[in-house]
Symmetry: C2
Subunit: 388 residues, 2 copies
């Protein structure tokens, strides 16, 4: 069927970090209210609400968040408020659902948000919670967790393509340099490659700085049909590509250990829909939950040939002034990764970039891409946004 | 916008009960495979998958279920597989999302399912998990749980309308009589009012038989556009009403303690959409998580005047041979309540009724209704199905 255009007319977010005095509801309400204000809509115009959250049940014992948060922002009771979950892709799945309902013509204005409260839980609980997206009937039983997953991916990438530990570490260095300029980032410190190499070994070859930090945060966006977007915003950002695909819930099922097949599929779908090539993208916020993930993702998304991602980092191609700036926000590694919020946090950053009002602005950015890989790549999302 | 018709062409389910040797994945795969087979489709024709689940994270430490189960049933990797959560409404939210995407014309064939594995967890864990849909920042802190919630509702209903403890108990008696005929029901025993009255006091005035049992189970349905439904099924069942509304995450916020406002809203929307009146419904599977819930729901849905629900039970109006048979499957009280599956379990029963092949058949049934109240009525759903 014919789909109509969908635009982002408002975004809001909390900073990402250890937000000690903010409850999960407070964070989500803050981000949603900011997005509603930014959009210049009356909240009673919102026709549906989708909320991404991964693991509030296991971490803080709170479920059924969508109506709870809808109550906090006084949405109409006549509308549906739905929580969606797909591990690290949860918020971008909320975006995707909202996108579909506006694109199909069912609704004109939809609010989407994501939230996660992680810092209040013990390390043990966090580890179990994050691991819960691996198939616990099979690979989960082996004790594999995500640092291990990405360490194995990194080792295989090094073996296959000669990617070096230093190249992997340079991802963290670059993303910290970016994050230092981003007031929403959890870390604001510039680090050297030596700092990365000397940081604590977590899972060989991943050091502490190669791993994203546990964070709290919430992000939100208001979507509307492109036809009416200009009524609300001088700078609507159009969603020109949207894809959500399915991968594997284990490492052993993947055909290889250097790619996430669902990312490859999602990128293909999103680029076809947008009618552009990877080379047309001006910046990308992609899923660097661990340093090697950014390298693998940058290849799977089509920005670099498979195996060349490490060299792209080394050659500075992914710096903010490079050929394809990746994670100018600081990425998950430095900005932080409140799991259920991250996808919309990326959208927040890209929208600011495409409005040309970002603190770490990519000059003249017209097209931006966001990407998440949920769990072991079990559910991957790609969205492509364009300035009008 | 114009919406097109959506039909159910296949249903599948596990029995509800203590399914000791079945994992959550196995149960969901069983229900989905049965629905796919019943629909007579090739699984590669499925264009999207929505899965309802409430609390697998807290109960069994497994999240990101949608792609996991999609892998088990070999769905295409190109499609999106999305978990939705809204407490006891989770499965009917999955139905609602699938409905919207087919109705809008985006997809022709969508699989929806719901699953919950509860029996393997300790009572303490189950209590915490079920309670997690109450706002834990406010009312959850008081220690209120769902037996308490419905006990308070029952007491207020008795105070306001003179509803009797015996009328409340008669709901359990009726639903056990129904469930005794249903091979999918957890309990198959007929009970007397005396049995209910003499059963263990749980939360005054609710006795053991007034509370639904912890259960495992999964249910699924295949949806397709009504235009092509006859290509697959001789007896497609049309979805003529669908609504999902938002309520309150606490008891104290509700204006009164004898109604769930979100149920009233959802019923209004669904009946308007279907263009029928409550009196046109031939049978209803509604959310009797506790006996008084069936009474309050039957009023909120418009079947009986507010305050008359208890008398309707006493007068036999809701028996399988009554004016409006309610829960001929046995309902949550007797059939069981695997939280994230229940909504589609109800759909399974109603589809069998409307095909005229149910074990406890309502004679000549043409129109059936399903209803769920998630948590404290925070998210309510109503669906109206019709035989062609």
């Amino acid at each position: 069927m014919g789909m109509r255009g969908v635009s982002i007319i408002g975004v809001g977010t909390t900073p990402y970090g250890i937000l000690k005095n903010q409850t999960i509801k407070a964070m989500a309400v803050t981000a949603c209210n900011e997005a509603i204000k930014d959009a210049g809509i009356d909240r009673k115009q919102i026709e549906a609400f989708y909320l991404g959250n991964y693991i509030s049940g296991m971490i803080i014992g709170q479920e059924t968040l969508a109506p709870l948060i809808a109550g906090g922002i006084c949405l109409n009771k006549e509308i549906s408020c739905t929580k969606v979950e797909g591990a690290c892709s949860s918020a971008s799945i909320a975006l995707r659902q909202g996108y579909l309902l506006v694109a199909s013509g069912l609704y004109d204005i939809v609010l989407v948000a994501g939230v996660e409260k992680m810092s209040s839980a013990s390390t043990e609980k966090i580890t179990a919670s994050l691991g819960a997206s691996i198939d616990m009937e099979t690979e989960g039983l082996t004790g594999l967790t995500f640092p291990g997953f990405w360490a194995l991916m990194a080792r295989r990438h090094m073996y296959e393509f000669g990617t070096t530990i230093e190249q992997i570490g340079m991802v963290a260095v670059k993303n910290h340099k970016n994050g230092a300029l981003n007031p929403r980032a959890r870390f604001r410190n510039i680090i050297s490659l030596e700092d990365v190499m000397n940081s604590k070994m977590i899972t060989d070859p991943l050091k502490l700085y190669d791993c994203c930090p546990i964070s709290d945060g919430a992000s939100a966006a208001v979507l509307c049909s492109s036809e009416i977007a200009k009524e609300f915003s001088d700078k609507p950002i159009d969603i020109i590509g949207s894809a959500q695909t399915t991968g594997y819930s284990t490492l052993f099922e993947q055909a290889q250990e250097v790619s996430l097949p669902a990312t490859i599929l999602a990128a293909k779908q999103a680029f076809e829909m947008a009618g552009i090539m990877p080379g047309d993208v001006d910046l990308a916020e992609i899923h660097d939950c661990f340093s090697p993930a950014e390298i693998a993702d940058s290849e799977d998304l089509g920005f670099f040939e498979k195996g060349k991602g490490g060299w792209a980092v080394q050659d500075g191609l992914t710096r903010v002034d490079g050929k394809l700036p990746i994670n100018p926000s600081g990425g998950l590694l430095c900005k932080g990764h409140p799991v259920g919020a991250t996808g919309l946090g990326q959208v927040y950053e890209v929208v600011r970039q495409l409005r040309h009002e970002h603190e770490n602005q990519v000059k003249g950015a017209e097209i931006g891409l966001t990407h998440n890989a949920g769990g072991t790549g079990a559910v991957c999302t790609v969205h492509i946004l364009r300035r009008r």
